[in-house]
């Protein structure tokens, strides 16, 4: 649109010593050149700004909730306001932040670079996805202004068909955001199928691409079901179609089935791309070839497929035949196998590696720890007998947040720090980055570990007041206080993280083309990349041949070894 033809590219500096004068950030100027851009990198940057804004908004809601719970009885808000706050925290975090988070920001930026393409397959669809995200965000803002939302982010019927709060604007927002997500998914599948560089076979793709591919499958197959569910909910409120209303022969539990048919796979939309980020980071910062490439790749696809078959575990207490409950429980247990395969392969990659504790690796290590806790506590919830006890308690809240904050969000931060020099052309202050990672790790644990204890001892989720429970459980008070202090610590940590990153944009040193010694294609173009990514189509080799690169102190970055291994595509180890 507003860009000029990409004929006059400044070739990136051959030694990677500094950012080229003409890059995607400087290629065109003005607000229109951003809002109407078709460049995947600019779309990713705009997504990043919007998504971080949503994260801060959702985080403020979370802090208000935790402040209210710091002591029993009313603290800072009314009961109704509390219901609105936890609902909006969930809805904003899920629909505006974490679903688009990694795919639309890091995926959009990195995927075409990783496969050696000039853009995603459908740049206009990509821009439409961003615009739909913005429209969805507007719907949520409208929701805030016309009565809020107090249904919980799950919109469960029959309450959601009767509450006076603004269910329809919020539901339409989620509907529009669903299409935003579908467009991203369609784009990524077509890009991976059709735009890979010469030499890049399926099994020479970076594992982040496999993860995005598996994510895109879920986005394409699951999100439309959420769309129709939300339309039915809106039709229920406006027209009284009765599909979910027993008054006319409908069934509220059917809503739960429809909702979780999307929303369980959706948690894999949130975590799978994060696992892809961790695969890249662990290999590069261990200076070792990834271990078990094919197992990690296949396990992404296995999670995507299996994820469609376990939605019933959200409804063990909603009324379901014992046979169905047993089948869903067994399938839930089996879906943990591919996740565990990934974790063991990451550990094996680190084994005897030359591990550097750069900021992205700090996040990756935090991920392994937190995702381990989050994943293993999921097994308690997949077990029928214990789930009856733990259902709708803080145990579920803690499990979910260990996986989502400790998993998806930490992986997002890992990837953001990993690709930050490529995105901005600047290096952040490493010490501050590490401090941010440490504080985040401590904050998450302090917030959510007490919630495991609270939940296992019977503290129900979504309660405004727990004064009545203190007679039998006086220590609930301290645990709630600890959790709230953890939330404040997390807020401090996020402030440090964002402050470090923003500081680097203005004061950071210029980044070399390859600051970490990665062997994937994005490190072959300059930091930040030129408008067209690659002056000529690159040829792909082994994406994890990190030992072909050595550190050059002169540029504070990595360059290909002067006496390289035999040229041409490197053989992929066959031991896996």
């Amino acid at each position: 649109m507003s860009q000029t033809a990409a004929g006059a590219l400044t070739p990136e500096s051959a030694d990677g010593s500094g950012p080229p004068a003409d890059n995607y950030l400087t290629h065109a100027h003005g607000v229109r050149s951003w809002l109407f851009t078709l460049d995947h990198k600019r779309i990713a940057v705009m997504y990043l700004v919007g998504i971080l804004g949503s994260f801060v908004l959702g985080g403020v809601f979370a802090l208000l909730v935790r402040t209210e719970l710091i002591r029993p009885g009313p603290t800072i808000m009314s009961k109704d306001m509390y219901n609105h706050m936890f609902t909006l925290h969930g809805a904003v975090m899920i629909f505006l932040f974490i679903i688009p988070g990694i795919p639309a920001v890091l995926g959009n930026f990195a995927l075409p670079l990783l496969v050696g393409a000039k853009d995603v397959a459908f740049p206009r669809l990509n821009l439409a996805s961003l615009w739909l995200w913005m429209i969805g965000a507007v719907f949520f803002v409208v929701t805030l202004h016309v009565g809020g939302l107090d249904t919980g982010w799950t919109f469960y019927t029959p309450y959601s068909t009767e509450t006076p709060s603004a269910v329809i604007p919020a539901a339409l927002g989620a509907f529009v955001l669903g299409f935003s997500s579908i467009f991203t998914g369609i784009n990524f599948i077509a890009t991976i199928h059709k735009l890979r560089a010469p030499g890049m076979t399926w099994f020479k793709m970076p594992l982040f691409c496999w993860a995005l591919y598996a994510t895109a499958i879920i986005q394409v197959l699951a999100t439309p079901v959420l769309g129709i569910t939300i339309l039915l909910l809106a039709a229920e409120r406006v027209l009284e179609v009765g599909i979910f209303n027993p008054k006319w022969g409908g069934d509220p539990v059917l809503f739960q089935h429809f909702f979780w048919f999307y929303s369980h796979p959706a948690v894999y939309i949130m975590i799978l791309p994060g696992m892809g980020v961790i695969s890249e980071v662990v290999a590069v910062f261990s200076r070792k070839h990834i271990f078990g490439y094919r197992f990690i790749a296949y396990s992404s696809v296995a999670i995507a497929v299996w994820g469609f078959l376990v939605w019933g575990h959200h409804m063990f207490t909603s009324g379901m035949t014992p046979l169905a409950a047993m089948i869903f429980s067994a399938l839930t247990f089996s879906v943990s196998i591919p996740s565990a395969i990934k974790v063991f392969n990451w550990l094996a990659t680190m084994y005897k590696g030359s591990i550097s504790l750069a900021t992205p690796m700090c996040y990756a290590l935090a991920f392994l720890f937190l995702f381990g806790i989050g994943g293993l506590t999921g097994l308690f919830l997949g077990t029928l007998s214990t789930d009856v006890h733990l259902h709708d308690t803080y145990f579920v809240v803690a499990h979910f947040h260990y996986v989502m904050f400790g998993g998806a969000m930490i992986a997002f931060l890992a990837g953001l720090h990993y690709w930050w020099p490529k995105i901005t052309g600047r290096r952040y202050a490493e010490r501050w980055g590490q401090l941010g990672a440490l504080l985040t790790f401590l904050g998450v644990n302090l917030t959510f570990f007490p919630q495991f204890i609270l939940g296992s001892r019977g503290m129900p989720r979504r309660y405004y007041d727990y004064a009545g429970l203190l007679d039998r459980h006086p220590d609930f008070q301290q645990l709630h206080v600890l959790s709230s202090i953890g939330a404040y610590l997390t807020a401090v940590a996020i402030t440090v993280v964002l402050g470090t990153l923003i500081h680097s944009v203005f004061r950071g040193r210029p980044a070399p083309a390859n600051p970490w010694g990665g062997a994937t294609l994005e490190w072959q173009c300059a930091s930040p990349p030129p408008y067209d990514n690659f002056a000529s189509t690159p040829t792909a080799g082994d994406p994890y041949a990190v030992d072909e690169f050595e550190y050059d102190p002169a540029i504070d970055g990595y360059v290909r070894r002067s006496a390289p291994n035999p040229p041409g595509p490197c053989p992929v180890p066959s031991h896996d």
């Binding site: 033809a5 599948i189 999100t223 006319w248 022969g249 173009c525 000529s536 189509t537 040829t539």
Partner: protein, 238 residues
């Protein structure tokens, strides 16, 4: 940087006008577009899938409602609409062939006939809907059948046994499924009209006919969904 890949070092001058900058060949662009279109159709199937699922659930739980209520639908009008849509799929497929063979007049004519068929379909649908509206045969919350003895559209109440409970849920599903399908017909008409204008301006050729092809894929899906809706809603049991 690695050395340029010889075969793919495309010069900008080689780029045909319809080839986007990030594709190397028209063939690659066409295949990517076609894959994207198929993926979109998959999302459409799952979108309707929710309603088909609701249909299956309620028909399994309350078969008597479906047997009783389907007599209120006009099989003849449904059959006419089925024939009209299948014929429009033929003309749409023919339009793609015309584009591939550089036959501009044929392309315009086929698209125009498809558009007319879609209009006829919606006209018939309007007649059906307005009959239901007059007789109060609406979705569950608004279901208030008007008792008019001698009216064929309202006759079955005695003829087919007692009215079961919650008959309205059948009409909820009927209106939701045919309504959503109707919206897709309207959307398809918009796209076909747009393609028609471009075709009249001579925008398509044997080198570049992807938009016609992709629109046809969409239109066939809209047709196919109706082919499922017709027996499921109109041709139930005795």
């Amino acid at each position: 940087m690695t050395e340029p890949h010889a075969a793919l070092a495309a010069q900008p001058a080689d780029h045909p006008p319809h080839l986007a900058h990030h594709f190397d060949t028209l063939r690659q662009q066409f295949e990517a577009g076609k894959l994207g279109m198929w993926l979109f159709l998959v999302t459409e199937i799952l979108f309707f899938g929710g309603l088909f699922c609701a249909y299956a659930v309620y028909r399994a739980i309350h078969p008597e409602i479906f047997v009783f209520a389907h007599h209120y639908l006009d099989k003849n009008l449904g059959a006419v609409n089925t024939a009209v849509l299948i014929f429009s799929s033929l003309t749409m497929a023919w339009a793609v062939r015309c584009a591939q063979l550089n036959q501009r007049r044929g392309l315009v004519a086929c698209l125009a006939v498809t558009l007319v068929c879609a209009g006829v379909f919606l006209g018939v649908k309007y007649v059906e809907y307005s009959q239901k509206w007059q007789h109060g045969l609406l979705w569950a919350g608004w279901f208030k059948p008007v008792d008019e003895p001698g009216d064929p559209a309202n006759a079955p109440s005695g003829e087919h046994g007692e009215q079961p409970r919650d008959v309205g849920i059948f009409f909820s599903i009927y209106f939701l499924m045919t309504g959503l399908h109707g919206l897709h017909v309207v959307g398809g008409m918009g796209v076909i009209a747009w393609i028609l204008v471009l075709a009249a301006r001579g925008r398509f050729s044997s080198q570049y006919y992807a938009p016609v092809d992709f629109t046809a894929l969409y239109w066939h899906l809209v047709d196919l969904i109706w082919i499922f809706l017709f027996p499921l809603l109109y041709l139930i049991g005795p």
